[in-house]
Subunit: 344 residues, 2 copies
DNA sequence: CTGAAAGCGCTAACAC
DNA sequence: GTGTTAGCGCTTTCAG
């Protein structure tokens, strides 16, 4: 046996190598399978044996190789999540909630950052699927044909988040962005606003909100909004610059709908600098319901999203499927709330 | 051969299974090894063969199993990063920078969220090491004996970030938190401030800043600061409440050093609510240099950290080591800048 | 430039 | 309860 290359490892292992399950087994005087059981189904192992093995594991600092385990069992205990960015604060709580819930059940989240607008989603997905995740969580419902194909081929649970569709790849947890736009239009018109503007990134979801917003204004016999649309990601500085440009060219709105809270802050700043009173002369609405908006700017309204709930529900859906159950719900609308600081 | 369980797979694979390298090889009429080469060392394969194989890969949608690859090659092309939280915005740009740079070189970042105060670091590290990352990036320099032991045993590059020490586990990229405290004390004293306060989370690094701050005040013959210290994580609301408590009990400082920007915003708000003028009557200093602070509050000063640089340099250090070179620098001080809004 | 053999470290499935 | 056998899907190493 020692004549073959690579053979002849002993319980001591090649000096630089990590301890293996086999090493532990030898040291404990049992078969590898028993050690494996202690790790995965301890209830199947006699208490005495179990304790002895646990001691060896402890003493040697053995760390099970999950690559090997995943390969053999075809279960990686890995869930992949792909988001556009974490610099955009709206996604972090969703990720946090996902991570927490999955961790409780022994799954690890593998996070992928796709960039705007999903520039790397394709490449990222390949890289990620190569790790054989047990499930995938995506942001949004728009994916290339290739992405859809690969995901179907992977035959694993998929949750799409932060949007809604009647035809999800598998499951979807989110809310209607067009619905947000519509609701905001109604809200502002209801408040008596009449000269509308929109400052937005060209992100797909932001554009859906824009669509709903403008369409609803038309329906309500209102003038079309003055729009500034730019390439994502949006920043506070961009919001400020956009508002400046708008005012400079003579568009003086009494209501501005921004595609993010950061943007809204920028718009607010520019507006204040010019002595326009907020919200008296102008209403400014952000999107996302981030903490800064809620606390620092009593003048700023926002569309509030329960960001954690999205993660929590997505995790629950995934876990149900991985537990062999049917998904409790394939389509979950978490809704949204317009928080108007004028009225509260 | 077909008599053994599990044997007898053909190029078509068991219906529900993913395509394997062997399937591709059969379809292309070559050995698995040649396909493997096309994937990893394409320059070793004849152009015609390569093209043929690439076509099969394309057509079948083959996704290499990186678990198997990692197991066989002992290189996972995975780098693990452990941060306390992404809800605390200071870390996200570091993560982003790390992710980007590593991705360029074909590595994927696996993010672990340890919680405050590193509650899960131990368990997380085990879970993470089980995936056999090629390198690990940690936040901070304080780790349990167990964590240190496991990391040494793993024999992989390790970068500690967001702090500094003369005795890193391996490499360290950050700055001195005590130094920040000292610099802030000097700065405020130099500005003529005389009644100091500190609002801080009990996070290790925040406490190091506190230490430097108070020690330096003593050295400069200043009165000790009034302190409010609470459990991490810190929020804007906590900052506000802390300031309220402080003022209510009669401590009226003319300078407050906060352990985060969010906190500083809260303090600012409470202060303004009470009609105290900022920065005239009171200087408020945050920590982290986040965008909101820089833009929304001309009254708020901050300790600015080049958060991306930390990630970028950490990535560079890791890549150098993985490329077989010695680390260019084992200890990197990225420094910090006090941005005072009174003067700019 | 290509292939064959062996094995990475683990677990499924079955025997005892 | 515990052990045995046969892979999981890839890469290493060496042969041609």
């Amino acid at each position: 046996m020692n004549t073959k290359p690579g053979a002849g490892r002993t319980a001591l292992a090649r000096a630089t190598d990590a301890i293996t399950l086999e090493d532990v087994a030898k040291l404990a005087g049992v078969s590898p399978m028993t050690v494996s059981r202690v790790l995965n189904r301890p209830e199947l192992v006699a208490t005495a044996t179990r304790r002895r093995i646990r001691q060896v594991i402890e003493r040697t600092g053995y760390v099970p190789n999950l690559l090997a385990g995943g390969l053999a069992s075809r279960r990686s205990r890995l869930v992949a999540a792909i988001v556009p960015s974490i610099t955009n604060g709206v996604f972090v709580e969703t990720i946090q909630a996902l991570t927490d819930r999955l961790w409780q059940e022994g799954y690890q989240l593998m996070l992928g950052l796709a960039g705007y607008p999903a520039a790397r989603e394709d490449a990222l997905l390949s890289a990620v699927l190569g790790r054989r995740p047990d499930a995938v969580c995506l942001t949004g419902i728009e994916h290339s044909a290739d992405v859809r194909k690969r995901l179907m081929a992977a035959r694993i649970p998929v949750v799409e988040t932060w949007d809604l569709t009647p035809t999800p790849l598998d499951m979807v947890v989110g809310f209607s962005h067009e619905g947000v736009g519509i609701a905001v239009a109604r809200h502002l018109v209801g408040k008596g606003r009449r000269r509308f503007a929109l400052v937005s990134a060209d992100d797909v979801r932001a554009l859906a909100r824009k669509r709903g917003f403008t369409a609803e204004l038309v329906r309500l016999d209102q003038p079309a909004p003055a729009c500034v649309v730019f390439e994502a990601p949006s920043t506070l500085a961009l919001g400020r610059a956009s508002m400046a440009a708008m005012l400079d060219r003579g568009d003086v709105p009494d209501a501005v709908f921004c595609s993010s809270d950061a943007l809204a802050h920028g718009v607010l700043e520019e507006t204040r600098t010019r002595g326009i009173r907020v919200p008296r002369d102008i209403a400014i609405l952000g999107f996302g319901g981030l903490e800064f908006t809620r606390h620092t700017s009593p003048a700023l309204s926002t569309v509030d999203i329960d960001r954690s709930a999205i993660g929590r529900i997505a995790a629950e859906a995934i876990l149900a499927r991985l537990g062999g159950q049917q998904p409790p719900l394939r389509i979950v609308d978490v809704g949204f709330t317009i928080v108007d600081r004028e009225t509260t």
